[in-house]
């Protein structure tokens, strides 16, 4: 079944003439082919890879989480898409329009990582200017600026100077400025960064609300439970290369299926040597938990436990969390690099 969100263009063997916005590009919110960025030091002329051969397609209305450790190429990707960096090679389109054209950013809302603003403006003035720069008329921008200030919880003091804003308030203002012109595509770089738990909840709600309205969202984050909660699809970027891209459910189910068996009444019981690497035990209060690393052993383990006279209280399949999968991908990349 076709995934609702993103699919790897490479996997689907895309072969279109360069520089044209094909019909499929127009149907997509984000599309990138061979997008690469290399940085050359002006002093040593040493070339470092920021991003290499990114092939990515994000369907309209999808929510894509973009994961990777620090320096993996997340921000480079987002800056290439938003026109702040110029690609070394490759192409990309936003809403079917090549990123080289400023028009591609008309329906885009972008929140940079740790956004900075003009401290001589107040919140209302800033949002009004942001709306006008994205094409709103002056009156409309003013109305929407007031609306969004209120929506992100800054409406009580619209004339407060931005130099008096706290870090969390600036992050909220950044989100409001990304949303003020009612964009069809949101690209957010670490939107939860610098926010307290309440602020994070508000941002999650905003993203979900935009998703329900049909807005496409692509965001990078280090807060994996949020990604798991919000995203249809997840892309993992490591060392400047797209390492993995899949549905969230598909990713977590792809992982090892572990089963935990909680028992009571366990006295002296030895795990058979054949299972020494696949079954482990740990004490949990007055109970004992046997962790079966391979799901197909479950029946045998249960039979053995029942034969041993213990009382089985619960059998719980354990899904690998996104965090475990992310860490495992990062570790294998680290091993590849050191090898």
């Amino acid at each position: 079944m076709q995934s609702p969100g993103v699919r790897s263009a490479e996997r689907h063997g895309i072969d279109r003439p360069a520089g044209t916005a094909s019909d499929s590009n127009r149907d997509l919110a984000i599309s990138a082919r061979g997008l690469s960025k290399f940085y050359r030091s002006p002093w040593t002329l040493k070339v470092t890879r920021g991003l290499e051969d990114l092939n990515l397609e994000v369907a309209r209305g999808a929510v894509l989480g973009y994961l990777g450790p620090n320096g993996a190429g997340k921000t480079t990707t987002l800056k290439l898409l938003t026109g702040l960096l110029k690609p070394t090679r490759g192409e990309a389109w936003l809403m079917g329009i090549p990123i080289a054209s400023p028009e591609s950013r008309r329906r885009l809302g972008f929140l940079p990582e740790q956004p900075y603003f003009y401290d001589y403006l107040n919140g209302r003035e800033y949002l009004k200017m942001a709306g006008q720069l994205s094409g709103l008329a002056s009156h409309e921008a003013d109305t929407l600026a007031r609306h969004w200030l209120g929506r992100v919880g800054l409406g009580e003091r619209p004339d407060l100077n931005l130099r008096k804003y706290s870090k969390g308030m600036l992050q909220r203002l950044g989100l409001a400025s990304a949303l003020v012109h009612d964009p069809e595509l949101l690209i957010l770089d670490e939107p939860m960064s610098g926010l307290d738990p309440l602020g994070r909840r508000d941002v999650r709600e905003l993203i979900l609300e935009q998703h329900e309205r049909g807005v496409t969202v692509m965001f990078s984050s280090h807060i994996l439970p949020d990604v798991e909660m919000l995203c249809d699809r997840v892309a993992i970027v490591l060392d400047g290369r797209l390492s993995r891209i899949a549905d969230v459910g598909e990713l977590v189910h792809d992982g090892r299926q572990r089963v935990e068996v909680q028992c009571s009444g366990v006295t002296v019981i030895e795990i058979p040597p054949a299972w020494s690497t696949t079954v482990t035990r740990r004490e949990h209060g007055s109970d004992t938990v046997f962790v079966v690393e391979q799901e197909h052993l479950l029946n045998d383990v249960l039979a053995w436990l029942l034969r041993s006279g213990v009382r089985v209280r619960a059998v719980s399949p354990q899904r690998a969390s996104l965090e475990e999968l992310f860490l495992s991908a990062a570790e294998s990349s680290e091993e590849r690099r050191s090898a």
Binding site: L84, L85, R106
Partner: protein, 254 residues
Amino acid sequence: MNAGLIAQNTFREATRDRMLSGVMIAGLVILIATQVMSPLALGEGLRLTIDLGLSAISMLGLLVVLLVGSSLVAKEIDRRTIFNLLSRPITRPAYLVGKWAGLAGALWVVTAGLGAGLWLVLLSRGNADHTASILQATYLAGLELSVVTACAVLFSSLSTPVLSALYTLGLYLVGQWSYDLRSFAGHVPAPLSTLLGTAANLAPNLPLFNMRTLAAAGELTTPWHLAVATAYAAVYVACVLCLASAAFESRDFK
């Protein structure tokens, strides 16, 4: 339209900066000082007032260009406020034009304010007949500052604030001495003469905007001079901003 919005914001930034009001106050202090010194000028008090008043407009304007203009773009890159602008449907040339127009507009306000102050001082001394020459000289000073601002925007889009202030000051000095440089180039051997001649030709012809001596004598310049100075400033600013845009177009904002 977007260049207009950037200009409006830059104008707002410059006019909300306390430095601009400081410059206005410094200009008024200089005008008052000329009145204190006038009795010591042996009958040349009027000339002293006009000369110092017009020089103050140019020098204080240059100070604003060096302190504000030279960091105009570099500061936005350093503080990353540029991310919020260039991730919107704005072309980079429109951004640079907007930055130039906003600061040039603020400098026109300073120039007009100080020019009006000088005119009021002259009016209070019963020298209303100098009105037209003061108006012309102030207009030319405004044009000169617009040209220097364009150079500051060029350097600011390519370099750090300190370096771009130094480059702007250097170009301003070469521009002020462009006639002398050209004449000096005729008296030195070949490679140096070519170098000096090229520098004098590339630098803005700033003496074109200087009519302080004429204004101090209460004389007017010709409409032709005003038209040529206006056209020259427009073409020079356009060329410098085109150069700045070409260089800025390929810049990465990490």
